[in-house]
């Protein structure tokens, strides 16, 4: 009986917790004059997709959410590929081989998790500028990947250490070299950890704001968070419709990932958190 009461209380709290997000969705579907009507209406009726059309298709300079969506997709997927491969290749020898300098390298990489992104903002900008990478995809992808790399090495090394060595030993006796073992045995066995890391990297790249805010100054290259933040400035405060449509669109990919791979995300947070 007490358990039922607690469940009911938690359900009420959870619904309350989701209300702000629901309000964004509801607003994005309302007709412009209905948005600011008081008392607040929680059912968007008559509903319209007009704001979505405006932010996705409008050719105005500021509302290029469609283009920003594409940019964010390219940057996030590129980051995932680099993070997963670079972290796995680094974590493999750190977990499985003995060589001089191993412990120092591991300590350096994990220690770098303590370097705050805000602290290296200016020099990273100087470096990116010198490479000619401002307002380019690589200028977003590579620094973004570097931000997640340390965590990736930490996570994958832990996972590799937990795998049994027998398969690798057998393969080595059959004449496989280190690269074969890495590609054919270790990576396939590590799919859960690689998946968790991939989702983590996708999430950080998709949601990062500070770095793209300064590394991009061409509107065509803005990723979603930057485009949304500037969209806010482009409209008067009463025009919440397009802003909320943009916000909803930007939340969709991770919502889908979250619904499909709920357990893996939670697992990734847990692994990265408690043992970090």
């Amino acid at each position: 009986m007490r358990r039922a009461a607690l469940t009911a209380l938690m359900v009420v709290l959870a619904i309350l917790w989701l209300t702000p997000a629901l309000w964004v969705l509801v607003t994005s579907l309302k007709r412009t004059p209905d948005i600011i009507r008081l008392p607040p209406e929680w059912i968007p009726w008559p509903a319209t997709l007009q704001h979505y059309g405006e932010v996705l298709l409008s050719s105005s300079r500021t509302a290029r959410i469609g283009r920003a969506f594409l940019n964010s997709t390219i940057v996030s997927l590129g980051t995932v590929v680099i993070v997963v491969f670079a972290s796995a290749m680094t974590a493999y020898p750190l977990a499985r081989m003995r060589f001089p300098g191993r412990d120092v390298i591991f300590a350096l990489v994990v220690g770098s998790l303590m370097i705050p992104n805000a602290v290296i903002l200016v020099p990273q900008y100087v470096l990116t500028q010198r490479l000619g990478w401002l307002s380019t995809y690589q200028g977003l992808i590579v620094p973004e990947a570097a931000m997640t790399f340390g965590f990736g090495v930490f996570l994958l090394r832990q996972f590799f250490l937990s795998l049994p060595r027998e398969l690798e030993d057998a393969a080595r006796i059959d004449g496989a070299n280190a690269w074969d073992i890495f590609l054919r045995i270790l990576l396939p066995l590590s799919q859960p950890a690689l998946g968790a890391l991939g989702i983590f990297a996708f999430r950080s790249a998709w949601n990062d704001f500070l770095w793209p805010l300064i590394a991009v100054n061409k509107p065509d290259m803005f990723p979603l968070p930057v485009a949304l933040a500037l969209l806010r400035g482009a409209y008067s405060s009463e025009s919440y419709g397009p802003i909320m449509a943009g916000a909803t669109l930007s939340a969709l990919p991770l919502l889908v990932v979250f619904l499909v791979a709920n357990r893996r995300i939670i697992e990734g947070v847990r692994l990265g958190g408690v043992k970090g």
């Binding site: 964004v24 680094t90 370097i115 200016v122 916000a247 408690v274």
Partner: protein, 304 residues
């Protein structure tokens, strides 16, 4: 790489040397990325902090400690330090306690646990900009629902984000909504590691739920609590996105945090890279001190 390996296999001395090289070959891409975009910028930032470098000016000179000296007189920087400290201190209790209470409740065998956990976690999948825009709209002084419902309840309303006394609290509220789910998941993992027998034994001895919480849950959760505490503190020192979206540091200087001020100094108002780098290193110093403190505390734990 595999083809090259096979090519030299018949020469024993070469193979030995090659075997010794293998780990380093694996390390090359990752360490290159790491050295170029983490280590080098960190050190280059220190160098820049002793120069008068500016955005778009190729020539600059060594100015010694001038940037650091200027920080001593920069009242806006002092305000930003104070605001950051205020934010950090004021947000710590809610961000430590709210997820803990929710996690303990979810761990009491409630139904729908996965759904509930996901509901609280959802905001953490959003970007800081989306979260900021959400609360900007909710807290809109005229047409926002927050003030409307306060009014219907007969409670006082105000322009939460435009009032210097409430703006920072609005930012804290926004942050709590954003990150609670993340810490909730971490607490839940910690709670699951506590053996259930302890609670059963305590219940047999007649301990109340509160007593079990204080005498079993909290002490055994100490490493997790410390992790959450330190993660939150280090994150708080760097708070930026919420401020940028909700208040731009205003009203006046009321919510201008260190990173917001750093951003403005380097990229918005003065384009002064040297001065911004000095701020960054002061911030880094503070963060390092707190991180070292963390290690001391954690080591203290593993000893008993």
């Amino acid at each position: 790489m595999a083809a090259a390996d096979r090519g030299v296999k018949h020469r024993a001395p070469r193979r030995l040397r090659r075997g010794a090289l293998t780990p380093y070959l694996f390390l090359v891409p990752g360490l290159l990325l790491f050295a170029a975009f983490r280590l080098y910028p960190l050190l280059d930032g220190l160098r820049l902090s002793f120069t008068n470098a500016r955005l778009g000016r190729p020539q600059y000179a060594w100015v010694g400690l001038a940037n650091y000296q200027r920080l001593l007189d920069d009242t806006r920087f002092h305000a930003s330090l104070w605001n950051t400290a205020f934010y950090t201190v004021a947000s710590t209790l809610p961000i430590l306690a709210i997820p803990l209470v929710l996690a303990v409740a979810l761990n009491r065998g409630v139904a729908l646990k996965t759904f509930l956990r996901s509901a609280f976690f959802f905001p953490f999948t959003l970007s800081v900009v989306t979260v900021g825009l959400t609360w900007l709209w909710l807290l809109d002084p005229v047409v926002g629902p927050f003030n409307y419902y306060l009014r219907t309840l007969g409670l006082p309303t105000r322009s939460w984000l435009a009032d210097p006394y409430t703006a920072m609290w609005a930012i804290i509220l926004t942050t709590v909504w954003w990150v609670t789910g993340y810490y909730l998941v971490i607490y839940l993992a910690g709670l699951q590691d506590i053996p259930g027998e302890l609670y059963e034994a305590a219940a047999l001895d007649g301990a109340s739920g509160w007593r079990s919480f204080w005498s079993i849950t909290l002490p055994l959760l100490r490493p997790v609590l410390l992790f959450v505490f330190v993660t939150h503190i280090i994150g708080s020192f760097q708070i930026f996105g919420q401020v940028f979206v909700l208040t731009q540091g205003g009203p006046g200087d009321a919510t201008r945090t260190v990173v917001q001020h750093l951003y403005e100094t380097a990229f918005q108002n003065f384009f002064h890279f040297g001065s911004a780098s000095a701020m960054a290193w002061v911030l880094f110093g503070v963060i390092v001190v707190f991180s070292l403190l963390q290690f001391r505390l954690l080591r203290g734990h593993t000893e008993y």
